[in-house]
Amino acid sequence: MSTLPIGNHLRRLRFDHGEMTQDALAKACGITRQTIIALEAGRYAPSLELAFRLARVFGRRVDEVFFWREEAGVGD
């Protein structure tokens, strides 16, 4: 369903971090829970700043949280 070229592992990372709720992640990043829902569904691509904030919550690098979908058909 998603058409955005940027995917993420947010849902898996949340569960790996003690089943962190969407609300807790949203609060940790200063965004709304609805934005976490949109991100996990692959319907919203975050700004670079938000991508760094999300990665920091999980203690990961940005490229460990977000990835480029080759099948999206968008040139690198």
Binding site: Q22, T32, Q34, T35, I37, A41, Y44, S47, L50
Partner: protein
């Protein structure tokens, strides 16, 4: 679909409030306030239940837009209908103009009251809300510019006798209606943006 339904239903209520053939038990402005406050209480309860059961309730910025769409549609339809019925010669110091003004401002008070009911204290707006709003703002600005140009051209090319028949009050309200139309476009596009991002929640 839901966006169109809310807009059409609110506009229908606005038309009925301005309809002279309906004898409301109260002043139509008060009827509108009661309807808006009642709808806000029901909606708050519904969203609260959605938050508890499905976790897909709209966030604060989206709630504001739903409220804006419904109240703007209602007030816009009420003013348009009243203006249409009063005709282009509407005089400032006439019973029709006084009624129009009192009703419209009472409805604005109702819109503010219903906003307070729906409003949650923890207002939070993030980059996604701002991006959705920015896209809608650009479109609404274009619509407003087009409407103003169309209005200016139509006024410029109207025969003088027809222009003389239009009162300042009438033309002022027509200008206000262009603002309302642009505002409706903004609300519709914002809600469309939220709808596009919506997905099944998975906690």
């Amino acid at each position: 679909m839901r966006i169109a339904l809310v807009m059409l239903f609110s506009a229908a209520v606005g038309v009925l409030l301005a309809a002279p053939w309906i004898d409301w038990p109260l002043h139509e402005g008060y009827v509108g306030v009661i309807l808006m406050v009642g709808a806000a209480l029901l909606l708050r309860h519904y969203w609260q239940r959605r938050a508890e059961t499905r976790g897909d309730e709209p966030g604060e910025p989206e709630r504001e837009v739903w409220h804006g769409l419904a109240s703007t549609s209602l007030i816009g339809a009420q003013v348009s209908t009243a203006l249409l019925l009063a005709g282009p010669g509407l005089s400032l110091h006439s019973p029709a103009a006084h009624r129009l003004g009192i009703t419209a401002w009472t409805l604005v008070a109702g819109a503010v009251a219903s906003w307070y009911i729906l409003h949650r204290r923890e207002v939070q707006r993030d980059e996604r809300d701002r991006a959705i709003a920015a896209r809608a703002d650009r479109a609404a600005h274009t619509v407003l510019a087009v409407l103003i140009v169309v209005l200016a051209v139509s006024l410029g090319f109207n025969p003088p006798q027809r222009l003389q028949a239009m009162s300042h009050v009438f033309l002022g309200h027509v200008l206000l209606l262009t603002l309302i139309a642009a505002s409706l476009v903004r609300h519709v596009l914002q809600l469309h943006g939220y709808r596009r991002d919506a997905a099944d929640p998975a906690e």
